[in-house]
Amino acid sequence: MTKKQFALVIDLNVCVGCHACVTSCKEWNTSGWAGPLPDVNPYGADPSGVFFNRVQTYECGTFPNTETIHFPKSCLHCEEPPCVPVCPTGASYKRDEDGIVLVDYDKCIGCKYCSWSCPYGAREFDPVQGVMKKCTLCVDRLYDQTIEEERRKPACVLACPASARIFGDVNDPNSEAARAIRDNGGFQLMPEWGTRPANHYLPRRKTTTTLHPDELVRVDNPLKAEGEKPRPAFTTPTIDGVSSW
């Protein structure tokens, strides 16, 4: 029996890079249990802010044969999280019941050592509160009985207009998330470090259409009706002119 492991599955073939997940994550979390997510100097020349989720954009190939990849990045809730054992206070921990990696702000001393031990750059330090912050997978939504059941999901998943984000237990083979990974070649980021990220990504897929010439030019045209019909004369009565109503 494998442990429950909540995670996100992000479809890189679907993501359009609209940043809706970024803004809805910031909105939910800055005002909620894991907040605030302060912005320093937000309207100045060099704004700096704390976000749990970022959408990055990459380009493959050389012009004109290029491909654009929008790449949402947040904490991957690793099954072997390297950030947890290095924490000297135990503030950084992985929950047994659902595998979510969290930070206890009341224990964090702000030494930033955990962020050095994350290869994904998933942790962002809050300079105002002086503690490390990171994606909570909206743990404050998942178990909230006052929210209707189908909305007990991370804010980013609910916000995605293209449905590029799937939330679920990746260790439950019958979940939508596990099925998406299994069926669509889901992969993990930087598997060479042995961190076993719980979040998975679905690869880009080539979408092609084969067109044959007979599909562009109509070959069966029994009435030989080519071109536009002749325009009616100016005096020709219209349907309004001859109908009684």
């Binding site: 654009t68 290095v86 000297p88 001393i109 050095w116 750059g121 060479e192």
Partner: protein
């Protein structure tokens, strides 16, 4: 990585203190003839350096008021082990200095050949053990960060040990000369030897870091198997923790310039000054050089996460 001055001062100060303590105990076992006051004052100097290091470390924490919690995860975290060992070493050093100052030397163990091991020697050995263990902890804090290839090597531990010993023995030589102690020659000789060893080991790690190759690439970072990938945007136009904490101010030119500086001022010049019989000047020179060395150590660390932050866009 962005060098933090709190950690630069912490590691150099406690390194010198640990080295000084080991030098005092080594001198005690080598010559033994010095008065208790010599070791007591030496221990007090080491204690002062350790306390200054502790003060510096407090500035590294954003919430030092709950710093005591950092002692709780010693089973898994080298940082926690260091947090425990520093006060332990402080306490042992205090006892060491006090026992020497009051000349308490009850025999603790008598060996088979009749040699007596007294309390100052027992405390000296304990202080030595704790100092060595602390060197390992400090080095392992950095050596266990796998994602910074410049740090993730056993040489990091070796270098912290050798540079701490070198500066500690140089300080001991300076102290012995000021006190007019007979140990001055022993300390100077050992300091020159340790400085040369530290130079060799540090230079080797510098060479290793220059010739090494990063383990990850953008291919595995975003999981797209293409030979040409470039970042268009990191997702935001401003800055964030990830674009500040993991980048050294000044860039590679500063690191290169300071590398030459610390090799000359931290190792070559102090060795020459020690040989010329000026250990006080040698220690001051070496300490400045080691501050630069520590700055370079941090600044030269390139973190894997920087793969994700290459273009503001």
């Amino acid at each position: 990585m962005k060098p933090a001055f709190s950690v630069i001062f912490l590691t150099t100060l406690i390194g010198a203190a640990q080295g000084l303590l080991i030098a005092l105990v080594a001198g005690q076992m080598y010559a033994g003839g010095e008065s208790g006051g010599f070791y007591a004052l030496g221990g007090a100097i080491a204690l002062l350096l350790l306390c200054l290091g502790l003060v510096a470390s407090v500035f590294h924490l954003a919430n030092p008021q709950r710093g005591w919690r950092a002692a709780t995860r010693w089973r898994t975290s080298w940082l926690s082990r260091e947090v425990i060992l520093i006060p332990v070493l402080c306490a042992l050093t205090f006892l060491y200095a006090v026992v020497h100052a009051f000349g308490w030397a009850p025999v603790m163990v008598r060996l088979g050949n009749g040699a007596a091991i007294d309390l100052p020697l027992v405390l000296g050995l304990l202080v030595t053990l704790a100092s060595l263990a602390l060197f390992v902890c400090t080095g392992m804090i950095y050596a266990c960060v796998r994602f910074i290839r410049q740090w993730a090597s056993g040489w990091t531990v070796v270098n912290y040990l050798l540079m701490g010993l070198a500066s500690g023995f140089t300080l001991a030589a300076a102290y012995a000369q000021v006190q007019g102690s007979l140990l001055s020659g022993f300390m100077s000789g050992a300091a020159v030897l340790l400085t040369a060893l530290a130079l060799a080991a540090r230079a080797f790690q510098l060479w290793q870091n220059v010739t090494g190759a990063p383990a990850s690439s953008l291919k595995s970072a975003i999981g797209v198997h293409h030979s040409q990938i470039r970042q268009i945007t990191q997702g935001f136009m401003g800055s964030s923790f990830n674009t500040v904490e993991f980048v050294a101010p000044g860039g590679t030119e500063t690191v290169k310039g300071l590398s030459v500086f610390f090799l000359a001022v931290g190792f070559v010049a102090p060795a020459a000054l020690l040989l010329a019989g000026m250990p006080v000047l040698a220690f001051l020179c070496q300490y400045v050089g080691l501050l630069a060395e520590r700055w370079v150590f941090f600044a030269a660390g390139s973190h894997v996460q920087n793969l994700y932050y290459q273009a503001k866009g």
